[in-house]
């Protein structure tokens, strides 16, 4: 196996990072704090969508409880930084100092915990197919939510509050970049091809000698790990973790990103995560500015709650008229590992 080269992707990530950082500087002030929150959120949703794409798109399984794994990551890392170590709120210009490394370790531990839960859930349930697996994972998400609602140590229904704001643009970009590289290399390795073959035809790939259960569990665990990392980042960005953030509907949102982008295409997931997060915010602002009008005696106000209605219609329309998603199975050149030229 040759060495894996990633210059193109690394360069692209660096350009993105530098440009956004410069634009967000106080002196330039093109991207204000509001925009930075949206960009950070989209990056976290990139992780979530890309990792769900590994489970649903590449391995051909069906998970409806992806946010359940994110909840595990969020609560585990949040508990470590907030309740156990009681880390102080970060100071400006702190990012070389100690707490940030502890934070990163906590995020990774959260991811590992989510991966462990993914293993526990995945092992029995991956004997199931399509529909049953969907219900099983949906039920799992609800169980996680119920359990979190009942653990008083992490706040129960009030949620875990007062998490220090460690997720900055830098840390989020770093984690997103690493996870995209991880997923990309996995998908384009022989393991990834084994997973793809399960999606195409499980029976045939088993006949070719592929240990399908092992690869299904592997996809599930890695997907869960990434979701856990994203959950940890989200908790440290919003400074709270709340059971309702991780129910069925948020999981369905990530699912929409995967299917809108194109099942099996990482480019599609990344693109859809960015554009749908921005679209949501854009629509929110737009709907906020629509003045109320009267129909008969009733005051009608088109408010931000209609954003989600539009989302749902979008999903149905994409499914009806472009079942394979925006990108289909295609990948951007940036995300394809460069092969060494043979002489």
């Amino acid at each position: 196996m040759g060495t894996i080269k990633l210059p193109r992707l690394l360069i692209a990530a660096l350009i993105f990072y530098v440009v956004v950082t410069i634009l967000s500087l106080d002196q330039v002030h093109i991207l204000n704090g509001y925009f930075m929150v949206i960009i950070n959120r989209s990056l976290i949703f990139v992780i979530l969508a890309a990792s769900l794409n590994l489970i649903n798109g590449i391995t051909g399984q069906f998970s409806l409880g992806h946010m359940g794994f994110a909840a595990v990551g969020a609560y585990v890392s949040g508990t470590i930084t907030t309740l156990v170590l009681k880390l102080p709120a970060p100071q400006p210009g702190f990012w070389i100092t100690g707490p940030i490394f502890i934070f990163m370790i906590a995020i990774v531990i959260g991811g590992i915990a989510a991966g462990l839960v993914g293993f526990l859930i995945g092992f029995p349930s991956l004997r199931l197919k399509g529909d049953y697996l969907a219900i099983m994972t949906l039920g799992f998400g609800e169980i996680i939510r119920t359990i979190l609602n009942n653990i008083d140590y992490v706040g129960g229904p009030r949620g875990l509050l007062g998490i220090p704001k460690f997720s900055t643009f830098t840390t989020i970009t770093l984690f997103t970049f690493l996870i995209i590289v991880l997923l990309r290399n996995l998908v384009q390795s022989s393991h990834g091809r084994a997973m793809l073959s399960i999606r195409e035809n499980e029976l045939a790939s088993e006949l070719c000698g592929i240990d399908t259960t092992r690869y299904k569990v592997m996809g599930f665990v890695i997907g869960a790990f990434c979701a856990g990392v994203a959950g940890g980042l989200l908790a440290h960005l919003l400074q709270l973790a709340h059971p309702t953030q991780y129910g069925f509907l948020p999981s369905a949102l990530v699912l929409i990103m995967v299917y809108a982008g194109g099942m099996g295409s990482m480019t599609g997931s990344i693109f859809a995560a960015f554009s749908l997060t921005f679209l949501t915010e854009g629509l929110r602002v737009a709907f906020d500015n629509i003045p109320s009008f009267r129909i008969g005696t009733m005051d009608v106000r088109i408010g931000t709650e209609w954003v989600m209605v539009i989302y749902a219609i979008l999903l149905i329309l994409i499914m009806l008229f472009r079942t394979e998603g925006i990108m289909g199975m295609r990948e951007a050149k940036l995300l394809i590992i460069e092969e060494k030229k043979k002489k």
């Binding site: 409806l64 029995p124 399509g130 219900i135 099983m136 119920t146 749902a312 499914m319």
Partner: protein, 302 residues
């Protein structure tokens, strides 16, 4: 703490089970015919509850609360549920009938999200919970160690009547024979001159009507309705259908009553267990007997 296996818990369980049974029948019939988990089915139940709520205020001016009013409200709830189910079939599921199965599943999630968010965004309905009106005066009887209200009787009678009607329809009528034929083999049924799309549409109609009826019963029994009320009962009713053997009509009824009694009993013991027992049952069924109690083992076609 109440005794674990008291008569009262059984009564409550039967009441809850009746509601689950009506929802589960819709799931299991649709699954039996088009092999689709209709995620929006729990939302048809929610719509039924809101339709009953609206019908109550529409007819209350002319008819005093009582059994007649309950009957009228029940009819309205069933009609609205059936109409929404047929519309969703026509616009969302029918065009995808011969596409990959997962795309129908995702569309079903989309329909479910659309109904929930639309109801909570639509100003006359709104996201906040509403109290369900008292459609008829409550009467309590004491039966041994249990308190039985006339609401329990209504729940059980409505569910039993509908289920008997459905069983007769499916087993004895030509339409039922056509439904069974389509669920066994769509292509062969088409060759025998059966209007397959019509039968599928009819199945959605029955399922939606039953879910609407369940919505009214739920409104009577647990008088608080809101746009997201359908998610959890829908999920639990689906689990009940899996427990009984998905695609099997008597199985769905049996599974729903087992589920109802298990849930009320577990709830009396510990509320966390009560919330989680459905999923414990699901995991156990899928591990021990994935075909369900009454389901038959079928070989996968390759």
């Amino acid at each position: 703490m109440a005794e674990l296996f008291s008569l009262q818990q059984i009564v409550n369980g039967l009441q809850l089970g009746s509601i689950y049974a009506l929802i589960a029948l819709g799931y299991t019939m649709v699954y039996g015919i088009v092999r689709l988990i209709n995620f929006a089915h729990g939302d048809f139940y929610m719509i039924g509850a809101y339709a009953a709520y609206a019908a109550f205020f529409l007819f209350n001016a002319y008819i005093a609360p009582g059994n007649v009013l309950v009957f009228i409200v029940l009819i309205v709830a069933m009609l609205v549920g059936a109409a929404v189910a047929m519309l969703s079939n026509k616009f969302a599921y029918k065009p995808l009938r011969y596409k990959p199965k997962l795309s129908s599943l995702v569309t079903a999630i989309g329909v479910s999200m659309f109904i929930e968010y639309f109801f909570s965004a639509f100003p006359p309905i709104g996201p906040s919970p509403r109290g369900f009106p008292e459609v008829l005066p409550k009467v309590m009887w004491t039966m041994g160690s249990a308190q039985v209200s006339n609401y329990v009787v209504i729940d059980l009678v409505v569910a039993a009547a509908l289920m008997t009607g459905l069983t007769l329809l499916v087993q004895k009528s030509p339409l039922g024979r056509a439904m069974r034929a389509v669920s066994q083999d769509k292509d062969a049924a088409k060759l025998m001159g059966i209007n397959v799309e019509g039968i599928i549409s009819f199945t959605f109609l029955i399922g939606g009507a039953f879910a609407g009826a369940a919505g009214l019963l739920a409104g009577l029994t647990y008088p608080r309705i809101m746009p997201y009320m359908g998610i959890l009962p829908g999920l639990k009713a689906f689990i009940a259908a899996v427990l009984g053997g998905i695609g099997n009509i008597p199985g769905a009824m049996l599974g729903a009553y087992i589920m109802g009694i298990a849930e009320t009993t577990a709830n009396a013991y510990n509320s966390l267990l009560g919330e989680g027992i459905a999923f414990v049952i699901l995991i156990l069924v899928l591990l021990v007997r994935p075909t369900g109690i009454l389901g038959e083992k079928t070989a996968d076609k390759i």
